[in-house]
Structures are given as structure tokens and as C-alpha cells.
Amino acid sequence: MLDQVIFYFFAAIAVVSAVLTVTRRNAVHSAIFLITALLATAGIFLQLRAEFLFIVQIILYVGGIMVLFVFVIMLVNLDVAVRQMQFARQKWVALLISLALAAQVGLMLWSSRNMPGQGVPVLSAVPADKLPPNSEEVAKSLFSSYLLPFEIASVLLLVAMIGAVVMAKKRT
């Protein structure tokens, strides 16, 4: 019961603040609501007993990436931009995309109901102390089965870092 209430609570926050993220006129407000959405997602990770991902979400996403966003928003002064038109004329494309996506997932759920045996599977309600320690599990998986992707990710980050520095540097 507690699980469900927590899920609906965080899900509602996530969806509402996501809507506000894309509709706010001011980019800083957008960023604040995106932070709220990311924190709510972190809450859902915690409800799914993925503690390590929860804290990575907070440290990396909220504490790292979003700080970068806010920093850049303040660096490119947007006083003028706020008063301009904020939405491009692509409403129909947006509607089409969202309808197509919704139809796809609806079809998936509908067809799973007709599948023999199950229907929509329910997550097992294992109490948190019965699960193996999450960060250790993730670490084991990360450094054994997924070592190569891990290294590739580090190379990706290095490349991105160098690229960002080169692009943002003042040409002298």
C-alpha cells in the first residue's frame, strides 16, 4: 500500500513538472521544473529499490548536468528571448508523434492481455532487506559483464569533455 502511494505521489509530481518544463516561458523556470521532475524520477527509482541509481541520478543529473544547464542559461542572458514567441509552428507534428507513441504502447498492452498465460506482469513485493545490497550488485555487474561498455562510456565522456572545452573556448 505504501509502495503504491509513493509511486503515485512521485509519478504525479514527475508528470506535472514535466508538463511545466516544456510550457514555461522562462528558461530558468523550465530548469527548476526539470529538476523537480528528475528528483521525482529519483524517488521512483528508490521505490523500485534501485538505491544506487537513485543517488547517481541526484549526484550526476541534478547536481551535475542541471547545474551546467542553469549555469549556461545565466551565461547566455535571455532577457530578450523571454518576450519572443516560444513555440515553433509544429503543433501537428507534435500531436502526430504523441498519438503514434501512445498508440504503440496501447497496442502493446492490449496484445499482452491476449497473450496466453499472463497479461501485464506485476512486480514482486520483496521487502527491501531481503534484496541483495543494490550498489554491490550494480558494481559487480558493471565491472564484470559490462566492463567494455563501461570503458567506452568513459572514452565518450572524455571526448565530450574535450569537445565542450574546445567549443566553448574563446577564439583568440
Partner: protein
């Protein structure tokens, strides 16, 4: 606990909101933020399935996605700063030098 469909619908909702943001907004920074929303929606699905099958692989891939988001944000924001320095704008339909 909850059926997996709840998490999928949450992921879908976030994904669609993010997609609408990407398509309709003019401000490039907000577009980048909408992309973050989309990546988040994917993360929710991955973690939900990882929990469903009791396999941490999903969480590991969510970690990779977060690392990817960090790289993407760094490069994207670097481009935005460079562009703003040259053209004094961050609106995407004014980035039309290569349009003919």
C-alpha cells in the same frame, strides 16, 4: 507492488511530453532539457524491467544512459555557448545559415 504497466505508462507520459517539447519549443536550451526528459523516461522503463526480472543489467544500462546524458549536455551546451557568442540568439529557427 504495482503492475509493470504503471511504470510503462509513466515512462510513456514523460517520453511524449519530452518529444512534444523537442518538436514545439524554439529555445535550444529548453529543447536540450526536453531531451533529458526523454532519456529519463527510458531510464524509468529500464529500471522497472530490471526490477521485474531481478536482473541489475537494466540499472547498469540506466547508468550508461546517465553518462551519455552528461556527455550530451556538455557538448550541446558548449555548442549553444559558441553559437550565442557568434549570433546572439538561442532560438533554433534562427539557426539557418546552412538553409538555402
Amino acid at each position: 507492488m504495482l503492475p509493470i504497466g504503471h511504470y510503462l505508462f509513466l515512462g510513456l507520459a514523460l517520453f511524449i511530453i519530452g518529444a512534444i517539447g523537442v518538436v514545439t519549443r524554439r529555445n535550444v536550451i529548453v529543447i536540450l532539457m526536453s531531451i533529458e526528459l526523454i532519456l529519463n523516461a527510458v531510464n524509468i522503463n529500464l529500471v522497472a524491467f530490471s526490477r521485474l526480472y531481478g536482473d541489475v543489467a537494466g540499472q547498469v544500462f540506466a547508468l550508461f544512459i546517465i553518462a551519455d546524458a552528461a556527455a550530451e549536455a556538455a557538448v550541446g551546451l558548449g555548442i549553444i555557448i559558441a553559437f550565442f557568442r557568434n549570433r546572439e540568439t538561442v532560438l533554433e529557427d534562427e539557426m539557418d545559415l546552412l538553409k538555402w
